[in-house]
């Protein structure tokens, strides 16, 4: 038996397949555009290509929008599947149930970042009159499309390999404390978390896009561990419950969505300006303000839970 027949999985794969077919259609035109595009030419071919460019743009706009919705849906269905997979109490068990889950999840996140970056480049390209970045953006898209195909294969492998008879590990086993990298302690993680956040805020204020980019990548890594191993404990109000997924559930008022959502938005706006500059040469540092804003929200929510626990119980975990 496999979870392949559960409603969520079928609906998810169906929508995913339609999105991929649409993307493949646009990829077909993209290849032609990449080969023959010459904005200064007045040939019939160029005229047709410009028409196809509209189609490609519409499709990509639609599919990227769908991919983002599908990502949220994926997270929701993993939560639902945890009631079917034995031993799994939250998404951690479902994702960790076979070797494909974690790679898939990471790939999905990277793709969301990549597609978001693509949207920014696309926006800049459409704003200019003569499509200056057309080839570059379509090359980026072709790479993303290959990754999306890989993602689809991984999804099928992941869903077909979820065991339903043997219990999987739940989050309390997966996220044991000794697994912290480089011998970090929880106090160090929390300290790094605040220090890096403060430096990012300063750098963002100074509009140093490259330094911001590097620190944001570091922050993504540190924040993941800090939230899982330090701030999560205060969300669950238990010293031994370490899990990045359980906070997405209704028992914790879905606080995981704001926490992870604000973190990813902050990181996204933090790393995009540098990449956009790299690709297009435009100065795009006004996004750094958004980065500071979202990261501040993330830090505020995390600190709120620690403060709340300290003021109601009187001790720290």
């Amino acid at each position: 038996m496999s979870v392949f027949l559960s409603n969520d999985v079928i609906a998810f794969l169906f929508a995913e397949l339609i999105v991929i077919v649409l993307m493949a259609i646009s990829q077909f035109y993209i290849v032609r555009i990449l080969r023959y595009w010459d904005f200064n030419a007045t040939t019939n071919l160029q005229y047709t290509l410009e028409k196809h460019n509209y189609l490609v743009n519409t499709i990509l706009f639609f599919t990227i929008f769908c991919k983002i919705i599908l990502f949220v849906f994926f997270a929701l269905s993993l939560n639902k599947l945890s009631s079917v997979v034995p031993g799994a109490m939250c998404s951690a068990g479902v994702i960790g149930s076979n070797e494909y889950g974690n790679i898939l999840f990471l790939l999905k996140l990277l793709l969301i970042f990549g597609l978001g970056l693509w949207l920014v480049v696309n926006y800049l390209d459409l704003k200019a009159i003569n499509f200056p970045f057309l080839k570059r953006k379509y090359i980026i898209f072709s790479i993303l499309f290959c990754a999306i195909l890989g993602e689809f294969v991984l999804e099928i492998l992941f869903f077909t390999n979820i065991p339903l008879s043997v219990p999987v590990f739940c989050c309390s086993v997966v996220f044991q404390a000794p697994k912290l990298p480089f011998g970090y302690t929880q106090a160090m993680l929390a300290m790094f978390f605040y220090v890096i956040f403060a430096s990012i805020a300063v750098l963002n204020f100074l509009k140093q896009s490259m330094a911001s980019f590097a620190l944001n990548l570091l922050f993504l890594f540190i924040a993941y561990y800090a939230i899982t191993y330090f701030f999560g404990l205060y969300v669950y109000e238990q010293p031994n419950h370490k899990c990045p997924y359980c906070m997405l559930m209704g028992e914790y008022y879905y606080i995981g969505y704001p926490i992870w959502g604000s973190l990813f938005l902050g990181i996204f706006y933090g790393i995009t300006p540098f990449l956009v500059e790299l690709i297009t040469g435009y100065d795009y540092t006004h996004l750094l303000r958004l980065s500071s804003f979202w990261l501040l929200i993330n830090v505020a929510i995390c600190s709120f839970y620690v403060a709340k626990y300290y003021f109601t119980i009187g001790v720290l975990l």
Binding site: M1, V3, F4, L5, S6, N7, D8, V9, I10, A11, F12, F14, A15, I18, V19, L22, I25, K51, Y54, L55, N57, T58, I59, F62, C66, I69, L70, F73, L76, K80, S83, V84, V85, P86, L164
Partner: protein, 369 residues
């Protein structure tokens, strides 16, 4: 990017051309209606069953011999009670009686509170018995004797999904009806007060008696979930095939409808609409059609299932063996609406993109001639 006036215009135009969109609207409403009906029923049944399991004992132990259900004796209960974390264990009589005249099975459950010559029956059982004129007394046939039992009362309507085919009897009578010896049990119920210890206790029981199956509450809930996932899933697979054919039809229909509007679009373009404006216009219109059909379909399904109790469709899920008189508990959550939306509206819009574009790029000088 898109101004309010533009959306306003798109909707006005949609209203003017409503006949062109009526086909896709009606069919799409129907499709969403069927899909949400099936999902509503299955989630409602799942919910009722899981709720009833949460009120039942923590672990259910059954013995197996040669692949068949076997009986257990007091020794099992004594040993199980000594496992750490178990607060109580008791044996129950629970089995099936074959009612040959109607060729159906009644589910017999022993209940201590009942007198030896009375029984409580579910509504489905009552209807079946009444058809053969067993109004006050029912005669159970066993290999040794004929046991007449007074029909005492009907199980409450609220526990319907569980008790529909159930007969509650005094354990002694139930043993006689099921031909069990004194001191034999078909199931042992185990109470574990600490929820976190349940699966551990279940494991200890199977270790102690390798011939038993100890099912924890969690196992039973996930079994039920899985069964209905399966039923719903097979439906969804067939359904996706039907949907794809609808979407292809839709695509053709939209190209046709837009084809006749070529003049209108050419005029729009000659007064300064860009290709992407026309695509946006068509997209807004189709989004309106799809979402309103989605909302109407879901609302109709809600009325059909939870107010009219799903005539015809219920049999798919509940089986015909004893015709059910279950009423469904309304369970509609955000997750499910999201699922239906994803499964219907997104493909709808996806199939509209290419026809919209094809119309938008059409040569306008040809059309206005």
């Amino acid at each position: 990017m898109v101004s309010k006036n533009f959306i306003d215009y798109a909707i006005k135009l949609l209203y003017k051309d409503r006949a062109d969109h009526a086909f896709s609207f009606i069919i799409f409403t129907f499709i969403v209606f069927i899909l949400s009906s099936v999902l509503f029923i299955s989630s409602s049944i799942q919910n009722d069953l899981s709720l009833s399991i949460q009120n039942s004992p923590s672990v259910v132990v059954e013995a197996v011999r040669a692949g068949k259900k076997d009986t257990m004796h007091d020794g099992y209960i004594y040993d199980i009670k000594r496992i750490n974390g178990v607060s109580d264990a008791w044996g129950v009589v629970d089995g099936y009686y074959y009612f040959g005249q109607k060729r159906i099975w009644f589910h017999i459950i022993g209940l201590d509170e009942l007198d030896e010559n009375e029984m409580i029956i579910g509504e489905g059982v009552k209807r079946e018995m009444a058809e053969l004129y067993y109004e006050d007394v029912f005669n159970f046939l066993t290999e040794h004797a004929l046991i007449p039992i007074k029909i005492n009362k009907i199980a409450s309507h609220s526990s319907n999904i569980i008790t529909n085919d159930v007969i509650y009897l005094n354990p002694t009578t139930a043993r006689a009806v099921l031909s069990l010896e004194e001191g034999e049990y078909t199931k042992i119920y185990v109470d574990v007060p600490n929820e976190n210890e349940i699966s551990q206790v279940a494991l200890s029981i199977s270790n102690l008696y390798p011939n038993t199956q100890a099912l924890s509450m969690e196992d039973r809930i996930s079994d039920i979930r899985h069964l209905y996932y399966y039923k719903g899933g097979i439906f969804m697979v067939i359904y996706s095939a039907a949907m794809i054919s609808f979407f292809i039809l839709l695509k053709n229909q939209i190209s046709l409808a837009y084809g006749s509007k070529k003049r209108e679009i050419a005029i729009l373009r000659s007064i300064g609409y860009a290709i992407k404006d026309i695509i946006a216009l068509k997209f807004i219109q189709n989004f309106t059609v799809a979402t309103s059909a989605f909302l109407l379909g879901v609302a109709l399904a809600y009325i059909y299932i939870f107010i009219f109790n799903a005539p015809l469709l219920r049999n798919v899920f509940l089986g015909l063996e004893i015709e059910n008189s279950v009423t469904f508990t309304p369970i509609v959550d955000f997750n499910m609406l999201f699922l239906i939306f994803l499964f219907s509206v997104i493909p709808f819009l996806a199939f509209v993109i290419i026809p919209s574009w094809r119309i938008a790029i059409a040569d306008m000088s040809e059309a206005v001639k």
